[in-house]
């Protein structure tokens, strides 16, 4: 986050016609996209993470085709309770005799949807508050900064628990709770980046030419902050999925939907530990680890590619 370095090249485009200017911009954008892609592909761990994510996305999308939803029905379960893995049930059964494999695949849908939606909420709030608190220097920006600091300090899980208790158990609640509690980190990061961008000369130029607050923020600050937000997003998804697992484990998830977290909750409360039913614990947990690790690896790779300090010549 060096504030002086890396200001985009200002080509003397005044003499060029409107169309060629646009072509110029397009070429430059295409070149930078290619550079970004090459940089990302050079990071093996990031590519591996992306592959894992692709696999889970396909599984989640194809869940209804792979396993009929009747397999999730407790009343139509075919196996015995907590059966060990066998030819019929590859990953064993849960306490109601449902196949763990079907539950894990269906659970991917909820876990991924919650992780992605919550992250979207958190990113929108974080970006708005971050840019706003850095752009408006008066009492308004100060207030936003204070609020960010306050939310940063409130311990996440206790706050999420209190919110989830207050709002009741549902999928929407859990998404809202994670989204509303995880934005301050992003806001902090975006604020720092916005301050760096606003110190650059071309923003002064925009101001002198009469660009308003809205124009400055959306046309100049936002495009420069976006790459950072993108890298931050992938890391936030990882944390959001972990949070979903934790909140569901504590019994705050939607009781009518299967997610990896609710599976772990059911396993724990139905004595999977004392009866040694390791298969019931192992598979949902491994899925969480795989997806969270994959998002983390992709996020780290993005950070390396997008960080101007680390670009090796």
């Amino acid at each position: 986050m060096s504030r002086a370095g890396g200001s985009p090249e200002m080509s003397p485009s005044g003499s060029l016609g409107g169309r060629s200017q646009r072509t110029l911009a397009r070429t430059r954008r295409r070149a930078s996209r290619r550079r970004f892609l090459a940089g990302f592909l050079a990071q093996r761990s990031g590519v591996a993470g992306l592959a894992v994510l692709g696999l889970f996305a396909v599984l989640a999308l194809l869940a209804p085709l792979l396993f009929d939803s009747s397999q999730l029905d407790v009343t139509r379960a075919t196996g015995a309770g907590l059966e060990a893995p066998s030819g019929e049930f590859w990953l064993g059964t849960d306490e109601n005799g449902r196949p763990v494999l079907a539950l894990v695949v269906w659970g991917a849908r909820v876990s991924l949807v919650v992780g992605l939606t919550a992250t979207l909420i958190s990113m929108v709030i974080g970006t708005l508050v971050g840019i706003g608190s850095a752009h408006f220097r008066g009492w308004f920006g100060g207030l936003l900064e204070r609020i960010t600091d306050w939310f940063l300090v409130i311990p996440f899980l206790p706050l999420a628990i209190v919110l989830a208790t207050v709002l009741g158990q549902s999928l929407v609640t859990i998404i809202a709770v994670i989204g509303l509690t995880s934005w301050p980190g992003t806001a902090r990061l975006v604020r720092a980046q916005t301050l760096a961008v606003e110190a650059r000369p071309y923003l002064e130029r925009a101001k002198v030419l009469g660009g308003g607050d809205w124009h400055q923020m959306t046309r100049h600050v936002l495009p420069n902050v976006m790459p950072l937000v993108l890298a931050n997003t992938t890391l936030t998804v990882a944390i959001a999925i972990l949070s979903e697992t934790t909140l569901s484990f504590l019994g705050l998830g939607d009781p009518f939907r299967i997610s990896w977290g609710t599976m772990l909750d059911n396993a724990f409360s139905n004595g999977a530990i004392s009866s040694g039913a390791w298969w019931y614990l192992l598979s949902p947990g491994l899925c969480v680890v795989a997806v969270v690790l994959a998002f983390t690896l992709v996020g780290r790779a993005l950070e390396v590619v997008l960080d101007p300090r680390r670009t090796s010549s």
Binding site: V153, V162, T165, A192, F268
Partner: protein, 345 residues
Amino acid sequence: MSVLAADPVVAADTPRRQRRGQGGLGWYALSRTLSAAATLVFVVVFNFFLFRVLPGDPIALYTRGRNVDRERLAELRRALNRPLTEQFWSYIQNPFSQAIDSTRFSRPVWDVIGDRVWPTLLLLGVSTSLAAGIGIWLGIRSAWERGRRFDRVSTGVTLTLYAMPEFWLGMLLLIVLSTGVGFFPGIFPSGGVSSPGIDVFSIAGVLDLAWHLALPALTLTLAYLAEYSLVMRSSLVDEMSQDYLTTARAKGLTDRLVRRRHAVPNAMLPTISLIFLNIGFVVSGAITVETVFSWPGLGQLSYEAIRGPDVALLQAIFLLFSLAVVVANLLADLLVAAMDPRVRQ
């Protein structure tokens, strides 16, 4: 991470601070303390209104799933119909007064919490110190051997640990080492803080406590270790390209001395403040891991309060955790300022 990100922000309003002169540690401490106090007031007020803006009937929430007699319901409703200021006053008193009972335990909230503080402090103290020690060591070694085998293995392992829900790790350890799966004998207790009927203050009692502590402490150590190691590694890597290290080497110092006397002390700063800033994360770990191991601390108490839901108890615990985090943040700020004069300018 947040420590590093905050730097440009500090830099942005230096002119104002500089006019006041090199305010020194005293002024800095005062301003940080005031801001921590403001945060605390915000948390207290926020916590109060959180339970009062909820949609629906609060009585239904307070008594969910339980049979409550008519008189008690009327009493609850009367309590909620009082003026807001009066409610606020009793809310402020809640964690400290003998008068307000937890609905689950039918004992004063203060009393219930008091019993649970020590097990949590013991568990978190042991696991945080172990995690910080091991994590810092791992971070230093992998930064120093950057890109080599040790670094790749250690970074891979720590990232995987970071991706694990800590309670899941706890359940796996429990099922393998306490229940026993396959070849593994169940040699550890399945939960609790001590065996029944043992004198805690005898030698056998202490050993018994350590035996019970082993698995939950191991779980939390593994869960916390990742972040310390990753932050220590990245801050030492940043430090390693600095000119003064080249100077130190040019003086003829050995590699070990360069690392121990020059690089590590400078790289320690972000990690040290992380130890304090991390309390929020540490608390989250405690809630689930204490539940898994039936460790009778504040974490397990919160789990019980959620399942109730026991609102008075939940509010008091939330307040206590927030207080701990605010104080820890303040300590982190002051400690870093005391060690690094650049911060307090």
